[in-house]
């Protein structure tokens, strides 16, 4: 069974949501999902750009009550 790891990066200016996601991706297995919670507008663009560049799959990307939720599946 694949699992979803939640990374709560709300209020993170440094290291920030993308850096938290990169760290979390190293800790999970291929096929597992990581969901980043972020209050930072920039990461709504940053995170998808990085996922595409490395080749991980973006599963979901939505905003709810001021919090961005970006869910990705580790592809390799």
């Amino acid at each position: 069974m694949s699992e979803t790891k939640i990374v709560d990066a709300r209020g993170s200016f440094c290291p920030g949501p993308l850096m938290e996601l990169i760290a979390a991706m190293k800790e999970v297995e291929v096929g597992d999902e990581v969901e980043v919670l972020s209050t930072d507008e920039g990461s709504a663009n940053d995170v998808p750009e990085w996922l595409e560049k490395v080749g991980h799959e973006m599963v979901d990307n939505f905003q709810e009550e001021g919090v961005y939720h970006i869910r990705a599946r580790k592809a390799k």
Binding site: V7, D8, A9, R10, G11, S12, F13, C14, P15, G16, P17, L18, M19, E20, I22, A23, K26, E27, G42, D46, E49, W50, K53, V54
Partner: protein, 378 residues
């Protein structure tokens, strides 16, 4: 008697122990409270000083003090690292075979650089995160005669300012040695700008353009090929180097991971109360939390102050006083004689000002003031 156990005698643990000893002086003297610190070393190192060691501007022996000399009277201190944590039974067991029980525990075991987590990096890269590595970097920088200097950064890492600081300091160092025209710099960074703090990244970009330092973003080092002197990134690009300077990826301590307190040694921590998640009487501070904030000494310092107030109030009145607001303050060296700083918390982004000589001298002064700071006198 209430027993408070502090695990780790670094920056966070020491500030917390001294803060508690002062707040609970009367209770300590009467024997109503006992504060015990367990650490892995009888020495306390001022880690930020390692950056200066790499440039021959500080010698390692200047960075150490006896840990016992930094502690308030009445704090019981043992060099006896914790081997196993039994948070459900309010007990830890140490390497020497002793067990310690407690009413409150604070864990501040810090983090460790793991260059070996990127194949080839340990053998071919230089870094400043241990005394031995900083000395080797000094040797490499002082004997470098020119070529490509590549700077790569692993994730996560402690002290987010080091990648920029070491680059600016190398620039000035090679300039002073008169070989700047034979050096080309390539700075890389894991995310899509030059620093995680947006404003710091913008400022650094202008400085790099002015100084002729090249950069590449979205570069996460995957492996180092020492034969071809190349670094390959997760994103598929390749970087040539003659001198490779790395900010290695970090992990928490092995004991944290082996006790299943947290993946990669990072303990799941409540961002406001700093409790170990699920344990009312266990707290975490410093590098070893899993909080999404900088792993820096100032983070450990502010967390220690909040915990000092809260644990003391809990001992005396059965309830805590205030939340941690995510506060971090970082100096940023912008060369050999200019510096700036960034200050922020969970809700307020930083707004760094242009670097000045005054801030640089303040940072150098802090390198000495640190010893008063850990004693809790600042």
């Amino acid at each position: 008697m209430k027993k408070i156990l502090i695990v780790g005698g670094g920056m966070g643990g020491t500030i917390l122990a001294n803060n508690l000893a002062r707040r609970l002086r009367r209770e300590l003297d009467k024997g109503d409270v006992k504060i015990t610190m367990l650490s892995a070393s009888d020495q306390h190192m001022y880690q930020p000083g390692l950056l200066y060691v790499a440039f021959g501007k500080a010698m390692p022996d200047e960075l150490y003090r006896d840990q016992a000399s930094l502690l308030e009277p009445g704090i019981e201190f043992h060099v006896d690292p914790v081997e196993s944590f039994h948070l459900d039974n309010n007990q830890v067991a140490t390497v020497s075979g002793k067990t310690y029980d407690y009413d409150y525990i604070a864990i501040a075991t810090g983090s460790q650089a793991k260059p070996d987590n990127i194949p080839g990096l340990l053998e071919h890269g230089h870094h400043v995160y241990t005394e031995e590595a900083a000395l080797k970097t000094w040797e490499a920088l002082s004997s470098f005669e020119g070529g490509n200097v590549a700077i790569v950064t692993g994730v996560p890492h402690k002290c987010p300012m080091v990648p920029l600081e070491i680059t600016f300091m190398m620039h000035d160092y090679f300039k002073d040695r008169g070989i700047l025209d034979q050096v080309s710099f390539k700075y890389t960074y894991p995310i899509g700008r030059l620093h995680s703090l947006v404003n710091v990244g913008k400022w650094a970009e202008k400085e790099f353009d002015r100084l002729g330092i090249e950069y590449e973003t979205l570069f996460n080092p995957k492996e180092v090929d020492g034969d071809s002197r190349q670094v390959h990134s997760e994103e598929g690009s390749t970087l040539d180097y003659d001198l490779l300077i790395a900010i290695p990826p970090h992990k928490g301590m092995d004991t944290i991971e082996s006790n299943e307190l947290g993946t990669s040694g990072w303990i799941p921590t409540d961002r406001a109360t700093l409790n170990v998640e699920g344990h009312d009487n266990a707290f975490v501070l410093g590098d070893t939390t899993n909080l999404p904030i900088s792993k820096a000494g100032s983070t450990a310092h502010y967390e220690a102050e909040v915990l000092g107030e809260n644990i003391a109030a809990q001992v005396k009145h059965g309830r805590r006083v205030r939340d941690y607001d995510g506060k971090v303050f970082c100096f940023i060296e912008a060369g050999k004689d200019r510096a700036t700083f960034a200050s922020f918390n969970y809700t307020t982004p930083p707004d760094p000002q242009p670097p000045t000589e005054t801030v640089h001298w303040f940072k150098l002064a802090y390198n000495q003031l640190y010893w008063n700071s850990v004693r809790g006198l600042l």
